[in-house]
Symmetry: C2
Subunit: 382 residues, 2 copies
């Protein structure tokens, strides 16, 4: 049966019909009052979503492009930075730092385990010369479903006083309560195909006054990713380069939907779906890859000892047209990942768990009572 | 009347219904066989459109991002480059070169005039030490409607032997016969909202083997714009970062339409519409901003001595819902620009000219015989 695909991956996430229809509208000119008004409203709503008075800038890039912009605009060659690395994306920011000639110190943890805030504290406290210019942290590590302890690590950065805190919030913003101003987060990067509920193509970066101060003396070369240009244009409800008009029209639609739902409801929906998914996986006697206390609101990674994860994914796709994500790099075929991020309803979680029960049984996995997964999820939802 | 907007600007251009509907499809996973097949077909068709065996890479950036990637991947700090500059975009590539610490020599001409190939020849011939690493040329200068003499300038670059030729083909590719392999163009950059007939959001860069040789020793820092990553992924029908899936599905649709129309027909359509537009403007006794021999196939800029260009644009929009582009920078309010690029039919040109006649008369301009513009265009189309 065609056109029945259900995305349960951590991006792209499902897109609401209203946003799909917005995408299909003829583009309008981007140098018009009509589009300028739309940019203005989008920017206001982005600030609302970020819970910030900081600039929030929209770029025509993927999430990686947004995080890279969030790094290179505020640093100079040779600058010392700490980068948290406990998954594919943490490792990527280490690579970005090195590609730009920064003096990168990685603070690592095993994939699936959270970063240890004490290790950040130690480095930051020892840095009495204030050489550390930035701490880069992946909040929700998409590759493992670990939610790192942003609040505690950030408190150590604040105690240091000099370093900027730069956050990859790609799969946390719009899913988890990321209080940009309350925490004083200097740079927060995210991408459109996640909590924003539209297809990939847009990246977002929020920038604090302290980060803008660093921008003034930052010497890494940039042009297309030069956030100063975006700031200047955004202040005039414009864009420095031709923007992806249709995606912005769709974003205007979904931000309106989010505002109507309200932040509290959005965050509690993600929390509830995370809890239901994890309860179900436990009831199926499959090991969760990330510990409960550090579980991402956006994605649940599941270990499958004695089985091939990709066989489960493939059967889920073939039998029920549900797309799950696989493991990346050394986790390939060892885990599968359920995305519960963005435009996902409680019903979708039930569909996914129920289908998973059927597929696991078909594949000969018998370490659960049929219906146990759904019963556990139902208890959370009830 | 709503939803009657007609875009006659040089991007975004009108988008065919089939592509709009493709945009509105639910996104699919980008790490699937289905999407991989699509990437493969898109890449093949991009090579067809570029008339090349070179790699053609697709990035999630605007046209500016594509040109920047085409520059920074092949050069090192301090490298000497020549940059043609006779309009807003030529000036932009000078800025990019400077932002990345290149030793930029601008070869300039007045806005509205073509670059003089002899000036390139002189610099290149004098460079017996082969210090010039690249020549950057805007083929169709969108800000003025001038088509620079790529073939002749390129022949001087070839005679030099060392320098790469890097071409901003943003408003020429898919509108004019840009023979990448016949001319031996090393790097050619373009953007989706132009000849490709889809909304903005994708940039394209073709890269020759000679350019890949230069890539090996090029030292400018890059990560998101690192074309080596795109090359590696494209060879496996994949993408290095999450791609703008919906735009790629739409591109798959329009490339299919272009292939069906055929290169010869696409180029002669643009040539014919350019000729009809220019004939009409002449018949209205308005000065063309670019000379006939250097007229862009994509855009016609019109001078309006004694009138305000923006009043004409505003009346065209208000009375007939036709969007024309204005002049940029010092040409603001001095010229207007008619885009005839991408999904534009002969009928659209007639609508535009006929409407322009009405508006000019309403604004009190009486230096033409009513119907003269249409008569002149009809002669070209007849």
């Amino acid at each position: 049966m065609d056109d029945k695909l259900m995305l349960m991956i951590p991006g792209p996430t499902p897109v609401p019909e209203a946003a799909l229809l917005a995408l299909a509208k003829h583009p309008i000119g981007h140098r018009t009052a009509e589009f300028s008004n739309m940019i203005g409203e989008v920017t206001e709503n982005l600030k609302w979503l970020h819970q910030t008075e900081n600039d929030v800038l929209t770029l025509n890039v993927s999430g990686t492009g947004a995080v890279e912009a969030g790094i290179i605009n505020f640093l100079s060659p040779g600058d010392r930075i700490l980068v948290g690395s406990n998954g594919k994306f943490g490792e990527r920011w280490v690579e970005v730092g090195k590609a730009f000639g920064l003096n990168v110190e990685a603070i690592t943890a095993e994939w699936g385990k959270p970063l240890d805030p004490a290790q950040f504290a130690e480095k930051l406290q020892a840095d009495t010369n204030k050489e550390i210019k930035a701490v880069i942290l992946t909040h929700s590590e998409t590759s493992t479903g670990v939610l790192n302890d942003l609040a505690t690590i950030n408190s150590h950065v604040k105690a240091h006083g000099e370093a900027l805190i730069i956050v990859d919030a790609v799969t946390s913003l719009g899913a988890y309560n990321v209080e940009v101003d309350v925490l004083g987060l200097d740079v927060v990067a995210s991408g459109s195909q996640k909590g924003y509920m539209i297809p990939p193509g847009l990246g977002f970066v929020s920038v604090s006054p302290k980060a803008w101060e660093a921008y003034k003396t930052a010497k890494l070369p940039k042009y297309y990713l030069d956030l100063g240009k975006y700031r200047k244009a955004t202040a005039k409800n414009s864009t420095p380069f031709t923007p992806p008009i249709n995606l912005i029209v769709a974003l205007h639609t979904t931000l309106g939907m989010m505002k109507k739902e309200g932040l509290e409801s959005i965050f509690s929906r993600h929390e509830r779906q995370k809890n239901a998914t994890r309860a179900a996986i436990k009831a199926l006697n499959l090991p969760l890859f990330a510990p409960d206390e550090y579980a991402s609101p956006a994605i649940t990674a599941v270990s499958v000892p004695g089985m091939e994860a990709d066989k489960i994914r493939s059967a889920m796709k073939k039998r029920f047209d549900i797309a799950l994500a696989g493991g990346q790099d050394h986790l390939s075929n060892k885990i599968f990942r359920i995305g519960h991020l963005g435009f996902v309803s409680d019903r979708d979680i039930l569909s996914c768990i129920a289908s998973l029960e059927v597929v696991l049984a078909e594949l000969g996995y018998d370490k659960f009572t049929p219906g146990a997964g759904i019963a556990a999820a139902a208890k959370v939802f009830g």
